[in-house]
């Protein structure tokens, strides 16, 4: 390498670095936009379709088991018992949020759209067990009592309808509490 080349190499390096540094400084001196959010105080507005944590509105859930079948990693488990009017009643609906990969396939397939993504994303916990979320709040005895009350109500209504001499009566289902 000759001296001329050597010097031109150095000068080119200086020029190209200066060019690059000019851009860096440009942004350093005059940042075009503020990008930092002071997180716990300020919060981002999540878009409408955000796939955050799952939430199941158990009152609307029809216990069709579709979400359980659709989940590729089997993180949803549900248990149900027969209700008074032949519909199943949830006794437990658990989602293991530690395993859930937020793919949204269960939400998409849910027929009554009771299972939805919320925009929640803060879910740290101390143990893995805390990440298993239970959506049914009542315990089994309460649910059974409610079913029994519903069955009695239905039977009463059927009787009343019979007494009125009308044919269409809701079929009563006294056999509540049978595990599915």
């Amino acid at each position: 390498m000759g001296l001329r080349e050597y010097i031109s190499d150095i000068s080119e390096a200086v020029v190209t670095i200066a060019k690059g540094m000019r851009i860096t400084w440009k942004y350093g001196v005059d940042p075009k936009e503020e990008t930092t959010i002071f997180y716990p105080e300020e919060r981002m507005v999540m878009p409408e379709r955000t796939r955050g944590f799952l939430f199941n509105d158990v009152a609307r859930c029809i216990v069709c088991n579709m979400c359980v079948k659709q989940c590729p990693i089997d993180c949803i488990t549900l248990e149900s018992i027969k209700g008074a009017d032949k519909k199943n009643v949830l006794t437990s609906y658990k989602i293991d949020m530690g395993r859930c990969m937020h793919c949204g396939l269960c939400v998409e397939i849910c027929p009554p759209k009771s299972l939805v993504h919320t925009d929640g994303y803060e879910g740290s916990s101390h143990t893995r067990e805390e990440l298993i979320v239970e959506f049914v709040e009542d315990d089994l005895a309460t649910i059974k009592a409610r079913i029994a009350a519903h069955a009695a109500e239905l039977a009463k209504a059927a009787k009343a309808a019979e007494a009125a001499g009308k044919a269409p009566a809701a079929p009563a289902n006294p056999a509540g509490g049978e595990k599915k």
């Binding site: 670095i17 851009i23 990008t35 379709r49 955000t50 590729p72 990969m101 793919c103 397939i109």
Partner: protein, 378 residues
């Protein structure tokens, strides 16, 4: 008078050292067994499999549609490309026609994802070369694309957007305008990147004439995507074996042209990625102008059973050819699902071209191949 030291006594030893699996510049959990003599590497043997999750086995055990979220994990920087490639493959196998709009949407998100993937590739490559600023710039622009994807599918990394028969959601209102805004914002920035770092003398000197692969070798060793095009061979599956609506679009196949050093060196592969972002912006603009209205989902039965048969589909993803070889026995899940990825084949040639380079050039080589380990290990 002392005896002159013989050449034999001055002989240096060869060392075998491990580079990785936890090394900042191996882009993941790649381990290289380097045999070095001083600073010169005489052999670099990649040791893969630290991220092997058995995706092909999972594919045989879950239903066709349920495999979609796993394709996100194939190449986490280009989830859309893998999503769409899998969807196209299954549709080809089952002979499903998808709505026109869905095709255009897929091409749109694939090209946006190509931009964001190349941005990270460029940024991390420069970070490996000792220039940290470009990584921040790349991530800054990628944030735009992530925001766009979050609008359209609700996630920023694992999109799970494509479905067998279309896409999961139609584009949200205002999406196309925002995408156009992004294009206007992003296109001048590519020139800024070039001013910032591309022709920087230090970068050029570190990349030129390193890891030269001739086009003949690249084909022989099965390279694809930007790594093959960097060797000056114009082979792009979007052109060579067009799928979806790519034949209707106007774009150039970017090839390396020995800008500074020899044809097929690291610098050419670097430049191909930079220029490909420009082409992707061009495609995105065309899609915005021409995207038709209509449904985005074809009618696919809920229990999806493609007819028995086999199909190999390949798509151009940012890291080369993503191919799905699917065999169906008419059941609800795949009989065999084989994934061919670009990064895996790039590791194939690594042992060959890393002979006689310096250890610091190994870093340049890894960066220039833009490998991503979930894709090699699957």
């Amino acid at each position: 008078m002392t005896e002159p030291i013989s050449k034999e006594a001055l002989r240096t030893d060869e060392w075998t050292i491990n580079m990785g699996p936890h090394h900042p510049s191996t882009h993941g959990v790649l381990r290289l067994e380097l045999t070095t003599d001083g600073e010169i590497v005489s052999k670099a043997r990649p040791s893969l499999g630290y991220l092997h999750r058995g995706l092909e086995k999972i594919g045989e055990r879950v239903a066709w549609a349920q495999f979609m979220p796993f394709t996100d994990r194939l190449d986490y920087l280009a989830g859309m490309n893998c999503n769409c490639a899998y969807a196209w493959a299954v549709e080809k196998l089952a002979g499903i026609e998808i709505p026109e709009r869905a095709e255009w949407i897929r091409v749109l998100v694939c090209e946006l994802n190509r931009i964001s993937s190349h941005l990270v590739a460029w940024g991390s490559f420069c970070a490996d070369m000792g220039a940290f600023t470009p990584l921040l710039y790349g991530i800054r622009e990628r944030e735009w694309v992530n925001d766009l994807f979050e609008m359209v599918c609700g996630q920023r990394l694992t999109y799970n957007y494509a479905r067998i028969g279309g896409v999961s959601h139609d584009l949200p209102p205002g999406f196309l305008e925002k995408t156009k805004e992004f294009c206007d914002y992003f296109e001048p920035l590519i020139d800024e990147y070039n001013r910032l770092i591309t022709y920087n003398k230090i970068l050029v000197h570190r990349l030129k004439n390193i890891g030269v692969i001739s086009a003949r070798d690249a084909i022989e060793w099965g390279l694809s995507g930007p790594n093959l095009r960097g060797s000056g061979f114009a082979y792009d599956i979007r052109r060579a074996e067009p799928y979806s609506v790519y034949p209707k679009l106007d774009f150039n196949v970017v090839v390396g042209h020995a800008d500074r050093g020899t044809l097929g060196d690291c610098f050419d592969r670097y430049l191909v990625r930079i220029d490909e972002m420009r082409e992707s912006v061009k495609i995105v603009r065309q899609v915005i102008d021409r995207i038709p209205d209509g449904p985005v989902m074809a009618k696919v039965p809920r229990v999806f059973k493609p007819p028995a048969g086999e199909c190999y589909f390949r798509a151009e993803s940012p890291r080369g050819e993503t191919g799905f070889y699917l065999i169906s026995d008419g059941g609800t899940n795949a009989y065999r699902l084989k994934i061919r990825t670009g990064s895996y084949m790039a590791m194939n040639i690594f042992e060959k071209i890393s002979k006689g380079v310096m250890i610091s050039d190994i870093v340049a080589l890894i960066g220039s191949f833009d490998i991503i380990l979930p894709e090699t290990d699957r």
